[in-house]
């Protein structure tokens, strides 16, 4: 199990009818799944939906088993999407989740198959739309997948009651239209803390066992011609009308009236709070969302409900469409709709709003202002500067040269850092290599101070993306993969591919025992025992299994010299197929969580506890900071040089240091300065240790006093 426990969150999932649930948006979704009577849940962790998975993983005994719900952490998003096939023939409700669009990319084969044949039981995909500030992936829209495969896309208003309602309605919509449904949650909505009135959790009437006892097959649901042609027709002629019917009947989209008759705003549910705040700033709405401008809120972003839209546009001279992201699919479709229906209302969207980027309050405010200035004769006509936004004084401009960028980087004591120190040292010896990176914490190697890595093509594709360089060279390509990416697909797409094609490249697999970047979840090669999952399947055995001959496993990444030696050997070995180095050390965040707990317990029990951290002799440090350029550890920082004769800052180690030992290893591997010292503090020391300590200290003190005498004669410390 991941080292962090979610037991307190699990408790919240018990909330019954009428109880007020307090928590994060993504937890509200989790609770809503239980209220909807799901039979199975799967997915692949990733920001911003990780918590959904983490909480359910910890909820197995307490909730899921009782309710007959199967939860699993899928091997990949493709696995998760394929899992939904349980809802094809059986009246089983199921949900899967992932980070999008990356996860949807991986899942799209299964999704397209699922959407073609359609479903019987409600199949819902919770999409963490990782777009805008805080996103860690390419900026694309999941909307495109919804359109191409005909999967309905819900985008509810970002408050907990609306979100929970949307989850429950998603299942109904899915069943009513025999179509899978995506529910899109933006980053901030996933993390928003709010409350809603809970309903009892609902156990499914038809169980997974029931399905296995009464297996069904229906050839018309299988994706094989001629059924595929039938499916295409069904999507348009049967499922779409059914969906529209349901959406209209259930009033999933919302009309908010306003006093103005001539203009209106059409928006996605997810943008609702932002639009209201922008209107409030412009003096056109109050804090409760009472707007002068009528609003049509599309909690269903796909499909569009033509007659609702036309009804909203009727009698208005112009409507503004607030549609975040690009391409502007809704705007295109709306133009088509207006043209076909002969609607003369002017539609503006990206004409007054930016084509790209997150729609923040400031952005939306400017867009609405521009729209209303042009399309009305009385609103905001004299508004030239947006209210509240002050002039920027010169000193503020000057800040741009002062405030440093602060990209994310490896944590203090991270076991991956020494691997990149070693690669940096290898490059100092041999010159630069082509390095192909992957997705995961290790991707921070591309940033200073390491500056390593040329491309990243997707999760688990580090090795695959070096496959073109399968040519003879004294500097083979080095590809990097994390254990997460390796099990996600890298074993086959990368390592197996390299074996098959007789590649001579170097594959570095970073095995920190978890998918660390997503919050430290377990995977096949995790080393802790887990009652519910089969762990302890070594990566080295897997690669040997697909035919790798040259495998080296290093069990302590902090040994920079050994890592460097292994890398040297790997890049100079020829003709043995791909070389795989498995670099193992446990993720420091997880390790610390466990160790701190154990140490506290030991300390209380009076057992010997030793804690180490590093320090620097500021007198021998000359302020060249070669150590920082080789490490970049957050605890390795600087301070003003205590010697007034030197102007360059000296290195300092702050007390966040966890004593991982890398600083010492780097001193040895790169022959740095002699300023590093490891200080180990022992608590509850035994008698023998204390005695030995006293003995040596008495001699040391005597010798130190002797040396001190010289200073006394010279009065060296007698500076005024």
């Amino acid at each position: 199990m991941a080292e962090r426990s979610f037991k307190s969150e699990v408790k919240k999932l018990h909330a019954g009818d009428g109880e007020v649930f307090h928590g994060e948006g993504i937890l509200a979704v989790t609770k809503a799944l239980l209220q909807s009577g799901v039979s199975y849940v799967g997915g692949y962790q990733g920001s911003p939906i990780s918590h959904l998975m983490d909480v359910l993983a910890d909820a197995r005994e307490e909730i899921l088993d009782d309710m007959g719900i199967h939860f699993e952490t899928s091997a990949s998003e493709a696995t998760a999407a394929a899992m939904l096939s349980a809802s094809v023939h059986y009246p089983l409700r199921g949900a899967v989740t992932w980070k999008s669009t990356v996860g949807t990319n991986v899942a799209s084969d299964a999704l397209a198959n699922l959407a073609s044949g359609g479903v019987t039981g409600g199949a819902v995909i919770i999409i963490g739309e990782d777009y805008g500030e805080g996103s860690s992936i390419m900026q694309e829209r999941t909307h495109a997948f919804a359109m191409k495969s005909h999967i309905w896309l819900l985008d509810p208003r970002p408050n907990l009651p609306s979100i929970v309602d949307a989850v429950e309605k998603s299942f109904e919509l899915s069943e009513a239209s025999h179509t899978p449904v995506m529910l899109q949650m933006r980053i901030r909505a996933c993390h928003v803390h709010g409350q809603f009135v809970a309903r009892d959790n609902r156990k499914a009437e038809f169980s997974l066992q029931d399905a296995l006892q009464n297996p069904k097959r229906d050839l018309s649901r299988l994706v094989l011609p001629p059924a595929t042609f039938l499916h295409e027709r069904e999507k348009i002629e049967a499922r779409l009308p059914a969906a529209i019917e349901f959406i209209k009947a259930q009033e999933l989209n919302e009309f908010f009236p306003g006093s103005r008759e001539d203009v209106g705003i059409i928006l996605q549910g997810g943008s609702y709070n932002t639009v209201i705040r922008a209107l409030e700033h412009l003096g056109l709405a109050d804090a409760y969302g009472q707007s002068q401008i009528p609003l049509y809120v599309m909690n269903v972003a796909f499909p569009l409900i033509d007659d609702e839209l036309l009804r909203f546009a009727q009698g208005k001279s112009a409507v503004l469409l607030v549609e975040e992201g690009n391409p502007e699919f809704i705007e295109h479709e709306l133009h088509t709709l207006f043209a076909r229906a002969g609607c003369k209302t002017l539609l503006q969207g990206k004409a007054v709003l930016p084509r790209v980027g997150e729609y923040t309050t400031d952005v939306v405010k400017a867009g609405i202002r521009n729209f209303l200035q042009a399309q009305t004769t009385d609103l905001l006509q004299h508004e030239t500067a947006l209210s509240f936004v002050p002039a920027r004084p010169l000193s503020l401009e000057a800040l741009s040269e002062v405030v440093p960028a602060r990209p994310a980087g490896f944590c203090t004591g991270c076991p991956e850092r020494p691997i990149f120190s070693a690669i940096k040292l290898l490059q100092k010896e041999r010159g630069d290599f082509h390095i192909s990176c992957d997705i995961g914490c290790h991707l921070f190697s591309i940033l200073p101070p390491f500056n390593l890595g040329a491309t990243t093509m997707g999760y688990g594709l580090g090795s695959a993306s070096a496959s073109a360089f399968n040519v003879s060279s004294d500097k083979p390509a080095i590809s990097i993969m994390g254990d997460g990416g390796f099990w996600h697909n890298g074993l086959t797409s990368g390592v197996g591919n390299a074996v098959f094609n007789k590649s001579d490249g170097v594959n570095l697999i970073i095995d920190n025992a978890y998918t660390a970047a997503t919050g430290g979840q377990d995977i096949l090669s995790s080393r802790a025992a887990n009652a519910n999952l089969a762990t302890n399947n070594p990566i080295s055995r897997a690669v040997e299994g697909v035919g790798v001959k040259w495998v080296r496993t290093l069990t302590r990444t902090y040994d920079v010299s050994a890592m460097l030696k292994t890398l040297r050997e790997a890049v100079s070995t020829k003709g043995q197929g791909p070389k795989v180095i498995v670099a193992q050390s446990e993720c420091m965040l997880n390790l610390q969580r466990r160790e701190k707990r154990n140490k506290r317990a030991d300390l209380k029990a009076g057992k010997r506890v030793s804690e180490a951290r590093f320090a620097i002799d500021e007198q021998t440090c000359t302020g060249d900071r070669a150590c920082i350029r080789l490490s970049g550890c957050p605890s390795l920082t600087v301070k003003e040089n205590p010697d007034p004769w030197r102007s360059d800052p000296v290195t300092r180690i702050d007390n966040s240091c966890v004593g991982c030992g890398l600083c010492g290893e780097n001193v040895h591997a790169d022959i740095l300065c002699p300023s590093f010292v490891r200080v180990e503090v022992v608590r509850n020391a035994g008698r023998w240790e204390t005695f030995r300590r006293r003995l040596s200290q008495s001699v040391i003190r005597r010798l130190q006093k002797r040396a001190q005498r010289r200073h006394e004669i010279y009065q060296l410390d007698g500076a005024a």
């Binding site: 307090h22 920001s47 928003v192 709070n273 932002t274 922008a278 409030e280 700033h281 409760y288 969302g289 923040t360 947006l386 509240f388 002050p390 004084p393 000193s395 000057a398 800040l399 002062v402 405030v403 440093p404 602060r406 994310a408 490896f410 944590c411 100092k428 914490c441 940033l447 200073p448 660390a516 970047a517 997503t518 021998t620 000359t622 060249d624 900071r625 350029r629 970049g632 920082t637 600087v638 102007s647 360059d648 001193v667 022959i671 740095l672 300065c673 002699p674 590093f676 010292v677 490891r678 608590r683 040596s696 001699v699 040391i700 003190r701 130190q704 040396a707 004669i713 060296l716 007698g718």
Partner: protein
């Protein structure tokens, strides 16, 4: 709309991972919800790593008559410029970033910031000094914030053995921005249930400091200018030497010289201090000539007193052993990890002497022979060089370093001393010649040894830049812009370890040949060392 402002309080918290920004947000929300307010918080935490900055955004809305389950205020999920009442920055540059993003406006925003710095990688990894100027943030904050409360909250948190978030929470209370009483704040901490006592202490400290509305204490810490060293001892030789300094050097230079003397005594002995003063006397005489009796304030001597002093007090094995075994150093380390001398602890020193460093400690002739003679080098290398871990709290480890430190009187016969003194003399000779011809260029040359820093390979890279620029200085002789050019070369040398920028800059002046390749990368120790001696002799 202004009336609404009183109903709603918008708060942005910017913190780095591990600073407890999430805890702080939870305290505030908990406090507001306990008072039946509508409260919402959201964040953009990004990935799981503990680095990078996270923004937490909160909106608190006072309950209104007529609120029902269906009639609730619409709260925003992200801060808008000009619409934030309180910005809380757990680190100073993050306060700067919040201002850049438009969250801080003069009519509205109270800015609470901790004045401490968590340096960004770009600031830390620079070869020179790239630390951002905190004063710019203070100046802008004074203009942009309605009220600016800034003090070192990290230090205060450490005093209270708590975390910065508790001090920030106290500062929020102290600022009086939020309409909640002290009891409400403290209750929120108690409900959190973790480390309550320490958090409450830190909260109280933060509140008191903020109530006093302290301006940032000492926003610019003036660097302690080296004061002169006033010798109070009885040694006749030292007194005599200091009298000489008093007699020959102007009041402006005297403190520098006195400090230099102290450093030489600390490093070696009186004989060495005398040598320092003699070298400075020579330079001063020339400068007096070149500079029209000090019309320029003896700028060159002032620079050289420092660079010469630092160079002469070079860090060889003996020096390092000396520093590592001093009692003050032990005390400083105990202090840093927060223990006292009686507690059981172990120091492990990480060193990696190469054959060069071992040979340098030998008498000059013997050292040179060892470096020239392959088998002797190999033998010595096997015996003394290589990665070492040494425990300075164990008898064996301490005594071995202590003995090395006792070699100090013999240092002047060592190979290292011979190498350093040759180089220093060559530099001084060039400095003297340059000074007479081009005063400004002379000053640049005087400052050049600043490039020589660190140990072993790092030091060699510094020396390489130093030699290349020194040679360039000779080539620039007679050019009116010579000192500017030299300054630019020096800046280029500080761009990267590899020195590619310096090489390129030299190339632009057709001086590319001055940039020597570093002694081999893949060669064995002995031949590498031989090259090192050759280079040093140049």
């Amino acid at each position: 709309m202004k009336t609404l402002d009183k109903q709603r309080f918008n708060i942005a918290i910017t913190a780095m991972g591990g600073q407890g920004g999430g805890v702080l947000a939870d305290w505030i929300v908990g406090m507001a919800e306990a008072a039946n307010w509508h409260a919402q918080t959201t964040s953009v935490p990004g990935v799981a790593q503990r680095t990078g900055a996270t923004i937490y955004y909160l909106e608190l809305f006072r309950p209104q008559p007529g609120d029902t389950d269906t009639r609730r205020p619409v709260l925003s999920l992200s801060p808008a410029s000009g619409d934030v009442d309180l910005v809380v920055a757990a680190e100073l540059m993050e306060a700067g970033r919040a201002m850049q993003r438009g969250f801080v406006t003069p009519d509205r925003t109270t800015l609470i910031a901790s004045s401490h710095r968590a340096y960004a990688v770009a600031e830390k990894e620079s070869m020179g000094n790239a630390i951002a100027n905190s004063e710019s943030v203070h100046v802008t904050a004074a203009q942009m914030a309605r009220r600016y409360i800034c003090f070192d909250m990290a230090a205060l948190a450490e005093q209270c053995r708590s975390v910065v978030s508790a001090v920030l929470f106290g500062a929020i209370h102290g600022s009086g921005v939020l309409p909640f009483g002290r009891e409400d704040f403290e209750q929120a901490i108690r409900r959190g249930g973790v480390g309550v006592e320490a958090s409450l202490a830190a909260f109280a400290a933060g509140a008191a400091q903020a109530e006093a509305n302290r301006k940032p204490e000492n926003p610019v810490v003036p660097r302690a200018v080296a004061e002169g060293w006033h010798y109070r001892g009885q040694d006749a030789g030292i007194r005599q030497l200091l009298a000489l300094v008093e007699r020959d050097f102007t009041p402006a230079l005297r403190p520098l010289l006195q400090e230099g003397v102290r450093r030489m005594l600390d490093h070696s002995d009186l004989r060495y201090a005398k040598r320092y003063v003699q070298r400075m006397q020579r330079l001063l005489a020339l400068e007096t000539e070149a500079d029209d009796l000090g019309g320029k304030g003896w700028r060159c001597s002032a620079i050289a007193a420092r660079t010469l002093g630092l160079w002469m007090a070079y860090e060889d094995t003996i020096r390092v052993a000396d520093i590592k075994t001093r009692s003050q150093r032990f005390e400083r380390l105990y202090d840093e990890v927060g223990i006292d001398a009686d507690q059981v602890s172990h120091f492990t020193e990480f060193m990696h002497p190469r054959l060069e460093e071992v040979a340098e400690t030998l008498p000059a002739g013997l050292g040179r022979w060892v470096l020239r003679t392959r088998w002797a080098g190999r033998l010595l290398e096997a015996m003394f060089a290589g990665p070492k871990k040494l425990s300075t709290q164990s008898l064996c480890g301490f005594v071995s370093l202590y003995l090395v430190a006792q070699l100090r009187p013999l240092r002047r016969f060592s190979l290292r001393d011979a190498i350093e003194q040759t180089q220093i003399d060559a530099w001084l000779e060039q400095l003297e010649r340059t000074l007479v011809a081009d005063y400004d260029l002379g000053c640049e040359v005087a400052a050049l040894p600043e490039l020589i820093k660190g140990y072993s390979k790092t030091r060699e890279r510094g020396l390489r830049s130093f030699r290349a620029i020194s040679a360039a200085a000779r080539a620039f002789h007679g050019r009116p812009d010579a000192s500017d050019l030299l300054g630019r070369l020096k800046a280029a040398a500080l761009q990267s370890e590899e020195g590619s920028e310096l090489a390129a800059a030299l190339q632009r002046h057709q001086l590319g040949h001055l940039f020597e390749p570093l002694p081999g990368k893949q060669q064995d120790g002995a031949s590498c060392a031989a090259q090192y001696v050759d280079a040093a002799a140049r």
